[in-house]
């Protein structure tokens, strides 16, 4: 887990026309809080958990996106705990890049949105 990496939910992606008609690519994301410090230390940095309700909308540049992660609801030890999410990352062991597996690109059109 590199420094300054955070987890976020993507709302949508968009392109912005800059100078000379260059397009720059961005994403609108809700960024979650940094991980709970106590849990992190208790677990030797293997449990990254944060509140599921505190997040801040923000625009980021697309190249800053590193990977797709799984955010799971954190099981509670006591009922009083707030709702939190924790992170499961994909390991290098069955990494997509090496095995030639890629998500399908030709996903069928969805709902009533259509491409032009």
């Amino acid at each position: 887990m590199g420094n300054g990496n955070r987890f976020a939910e993507v709302q949508f992606y968009f392109l912005i026309e800059g100078h000379n008609e260059n397009l720059s690519a961005h994403a609108l994301v809700s960024v979650y809080d940094p991980p709970d410090q106590d849990l992190l230390e208790d677990s030797y940095h293997v449990l990254h958990a944060f509140s599921r309700h505190n997040s801040i909308l923000q625009v980021i540049d697309i190249p800053s996106i590193i990977s797709v992660v799984s955010l799971q609801p954190l099981p509670k030890v006591t009922n009083g705990e707030e709702d939190r999410l924790f992170v499961v990352e994909k390991s290098g062991m069955d990494d997509t890049e090496l095995t030639g597996y890629v998500d399908r690109l030709d996903e069928v059109r969805e709902g009533n949105r259509s491409e032009s």
Binding site: F14, L15, V46, S91, L105
Partner: protein
């Protein structure tokens, strides 16, 4: 004679004469092993075990590293003797004596130098159709051909047979078959070549009726080998193919350069060429860009569930490719198909043909290499074929490396000097590092293992000495005893290869992380926490306060795991099924991985007592590092620190030095101590993991269409795959994948990021907070929204925009992103600094290692 003398020099050129490396963390530590010390320790152990001295022939470094070159006499033990005979034949292999037909031999020695011409429209049409039908049946091909010919009678389309013949001719790839026992005991090769019946089960080799009627010798079953030479020659026939093979040379040079200038901790290990063994091997051999390095992988496959169909398949991997290419199916070369129905009793006899051929290739032209047409250099080059790693699943590996189970006194798979301990009146050694209290077994009372010490890696010298001991056993009883204390059952078939072109035995074997971490450890932890380990009469499950996964807790826990599925993005492959229901029905390695090392820290937190949970988290920390594709020297050290702490603590809190709990100390725990050092020796374990091999191998099995003759069909599929792979390399225009495959309406936004549909047809008016943020930043109130983004690592990140309104979707819209410091809140900055500091303190303990 009791003295145990090993005169071999240190394998590492730059290793110091004594064990002083431990005090010098800045030196090239990962390559330095206090090998002399290790050998002495091991020697004294063996001495105590009453192993007779066995001086090595240490003519020179190269020779001493290879078991077979020491040429021990043929063993009195039958199965050892058979392996030795096969190995001797392999050692003196030549292409002339190889079972190649005249055309193939001629072509191997005088490779065609002209480009492949498939420009004739009829030829091209036939080839295209043949390849399009590669997953269909012959009748599909014929039906399509007939339709085309009906409409265009002038087209000279080739028949299925002629197309097949053409592809065989163009590619130069063909198969060799060997007769084998109908019960798949053995193949009729080497010392068995002339036999008429199986020496194991006495089943006749030939069809008796046909033999009686017509006198024809019709074999009842055959195994199929696809020789490596022609497949390798095909790789260089095009400019593109020849250039792709240059990766290894480039990467190795870069690595050597980087490693020379970087402190050990900052080195990046991101391929097998970063491993110290490969680097040393390349230097010793003087590996050039014309040479090719291969690895071999063997796997048993159940082709049909609930059916007896034990088929064994082996493949070659060409290491010289970039890793993003290396593991893809079309670059994996089929090697052997061994039909079932049973597990072979002598697997060596089936592997014989492949290694005989490789050995012959290695020895061709006095060991200077085989001739290949290199389209990039536009010249015939001499290419040596070096063997690097042999991998196999648990069953296959003991056949390939000739070792036996883990339960001997020196049971470590990596051959280190860790000596096990057994219970009174039991010959079964357990991998307990700590000495039990109130222990009566004199032989095993050695002091606690020194966890601070670097575990010694595989050593050819020790291996050779031990192997000789096994080979020279006087009788069966002596053999069984020697096998037990050395962990070696027979010489590895690989020892027949050219000693200069083989990463020596046992260095060419490594830990298979997939089995170790996901299957063995997964099984141990879950059995432990479910209270399912054996409980000795003197122990009581009442005292097992870690055994919490029982009854309702286990059921609820299992359901929780199953309910995690929708939160796993689709790129995570198979999410874990409910372990309470499915853990004993073929729970997959990937499932164990996501369950234990992914969900584990959060899911076990609520059920395990805290000290066991914290101990488990140390394991997860270490494991998550060593299964990465790219690992720094610092991280290797960090992983080793955590894994060592985990193992030591595990023994303290579970086994508690109790004799009646010695069986908790399974060999997999000890092997964990080797995983981090193995990273620096062989590169990250993920590049040699059986995981990738099994995927490739499983794919052959899936291609099977005709259950009536599964095995014959499988041979045909493997051959066709080999030929088509070769053809695609030689004529890239035939490979549809080599053209860009971006779908319509996508947008490449640089650095390998691609925006994918769905997208808005028109710009959409933004509202609310979204509007504020985007308007603030870009002065814009309408945007055209895109739904998905493909990342450079191949994953596709979706978004709320593309996922909302979709049912049954696995959430794939959460990402990890790097935030520049300006948006990084102060609190998380302090966290980074604090955690780094804490880590340094922890690691100093182990700074001698790397």
């Amino acid at each position: 004679m009791k003295e145990f003398l090993l005169q071999c020099g240190s394998e590492d050129e730059d290793a110091p004469a004594n064990g002083s490396v431990y005090t010098n963390p800045d030196s090239d530590g990962e390559e330095i092993e206090a090998i002399a010390t290790a050998i002495q320790t091991r020697a004294s152990l063996l001495e105590r075990l009453d192993v007779a001295p066995m001086p090595l022939q240490s003519d020179d470094l190269e020779e001493s590293g290879h078991a077979a070159t020491a040429v021990p006499p043929i063993s009195r033990i039958e199965n050892v003797a058979i392996s030795q005979k096969l190995i001797h034949e392999i050692q003196s292999a030549t292409l002339d004596k190889d079972k190649l037909d005249a055309d193939m031999l001629e072509r191997l020695r005088n490779p065609p130098t002209e480009p492949v011409d498939i420009s004739h429209p009829d030829t091209r049409l036939s080839l295209d159709l043949f390849m399009a039908c590669s997953n269909a049946s012959e009748s599909t091909y014929t039906a399509v051909r007939d339709s085309v010919m009906r409409r265009f009678p002038d087209v000279g389309m080739l028949s299925y047979y002629s197309s097949k013949k053409l592809i065989s001719n163009i590619s130069g790839v063909d198969s060799i078959v060997d007769d084998m026992c109908i019960n798949s005991c053995m193949a009729f090769v080497g010392p068995w070549a002339e036999l008429q019946a199986c020496p194991e089960c006495s089943e006749p080799r030939y069809d008796i009726e046909k033999l009686a009627h017509s006198g024809k010798e019709v074999p009842r079953q055959q195994a199929c080998t696809i020789p490596l030479g022609p497949q390798l020659q095909a790789l260089r026939r095009t400019h593109k193919g020849a250039t792709a093979l240059l990766y290894r040379d480039r990467k190795l040079k870069e690595t050597i350069e980087n490693f020379a200038s970087l402190p050990v901790g900052d080195r990046i290990y991101d391929d097998i060429f970063c491993g110290s063994d490969f680097r040393q091997f390349a230097e010793k051999v003087g590996l050039t860009q014309n040479d090719i390095t291969v690895s071999f992988s063997l796997d048993g496959a159940q082709l049909y569930q609930n059916k007896k169909s034990d088929t064994w398949i082996a493949i070659w991997m060409v290491n010289d490719y970039d890793p993003t290419t290396r593991y893809k199916l079309k670059h994996v070369l089929p090697a052997i198909v061994i039909p079932g129905p049973n597990k072979p009793k002598n697997l060596d006899s089936f592997l014989f043909r492949s290694f005989y051929h490789l050995s012959a290739l290695q020895r061709e032209n006095d060991g200077t290499g085989i001739r290949m047409w290199d389209a990039a250099q536009e010249a015939i080059v001499l290419s040596r074929i070096a063997f690097i790693f042999g991998t196999a699943d648990a069953l296959g590996l003991t056949e390939l490396d000739g070792r036996v189970g883990h339960h001997g006194a020196l049971g470590c798979r990596m051959g280190c000097d860790m000596k096990g301990r057994h219970k009174p009146r039991s010959g079964h050694y357990c991998a307990a590092h700590l000495c039990p209290n109130d222990y009566s077994v004199e032989d095993c009372k050695h002091p606690d293992y020194d966890f601070q010490k670097k575990p010694t890696g595989p050593s050819p010298e020790i291996y050779t000495a031990n192997l000789t001991k096994v080979v020279t056993s006087l009788d069966q009883g002596d053999y069984e005893y020697n096998r037990k204390i050395t962990g070696i059952g027979k010489p590895s078939i690989l020892s027949g290869l050219h000693p200069g072109l083989l990463l020596s035995i046992p260095k060419c074997f490594t830990v298979d992380l997939m089995h170790l971490l996901f299957l063995n450890l997964g099984d141990l932890l879950i059995s432990l926490w479910r209270g399912q380990l054996r409980c000795d009469p003197t122990d009581s499950k009442e005292n097992w306060d870690w055994a919490v996964l029982k009854d309702d807790v286990w059921t609820t826990h299992g359901r929780l795991v199953a309910e995690a599925t929708p939160y796993f993005p689709s790129s995570f492959h198979r999410p874990p099924r409910n372990p309470a229901e499915k853990i004993s029905s073929g729970y997959k390695a990937t499932e164990f991985n996501l369950y234990i090392f992914g969900l584990g820290p959060a899911f076990f937190r609520t059920v395990l007592p805290k000290k066991y949970w914290k101990n488990f988290c140390k394991l997860v920390h270490g494991v998550r590092i060593i299964i990465q594709r790219s690992i720094t020297g610092h991280q290797i050290r960090e992983a080793h620190s955590y894994l060592t702490q985990f193992v030591e603590e595990f023994e303290h809190i579970y086994y508690q030095r109790r004799v009646d709990r010695l069986h908790f100390c399974r060999p997999s725990l000890h092997t964990l101590l080797h995983t981090a050092p193995e990273c620096s020796r062989t590169g990250p374990g993920t590049y040699v993991s059986q995981f990738r091999m099994e995927r490739a191998i499983g794919d052959f099995g899936r291609d099977i269409r005709q259950p009536s003759n599964i095995f014959g069909n499988l041979c045909q599929i493997a051959l066709r795959r080999a030929q088509i792979n070769a053809l695609k390399t030689m004529c890239p225009e035939l490979d549809p994948d080599s053209r860009s495959t971006l779908p319509k309406h996508s947008y490449e936004c640089g650095s390998n990021f691609v925006l994918l549909q769905p997208r808005d047809r028109y710009r959409t008016k933004l509202t609310g907070e979204t509007l504020n943020i985007i308007d603030d930043k870009f002065d814009i109130s309408r945007v055209r929204r895109w739904g998905r983004l493909r990342l450079p690592n191949g994953q596709v990140a979706r978004s709320l925009f593309s996922e909302s309104g979709r049912a049954n979707t696995r959430v794939s819209r959460n990402v990890k992103a790097s935030f520049c410091l300006s948006v990084c809140p102060i609190s998380s900055l302090t966290f980074c600094i604090r955690s780094n500091w804490a880590m340094e303190i922890d690691l100093q303990k182990f700074s001698f290692i790397f």
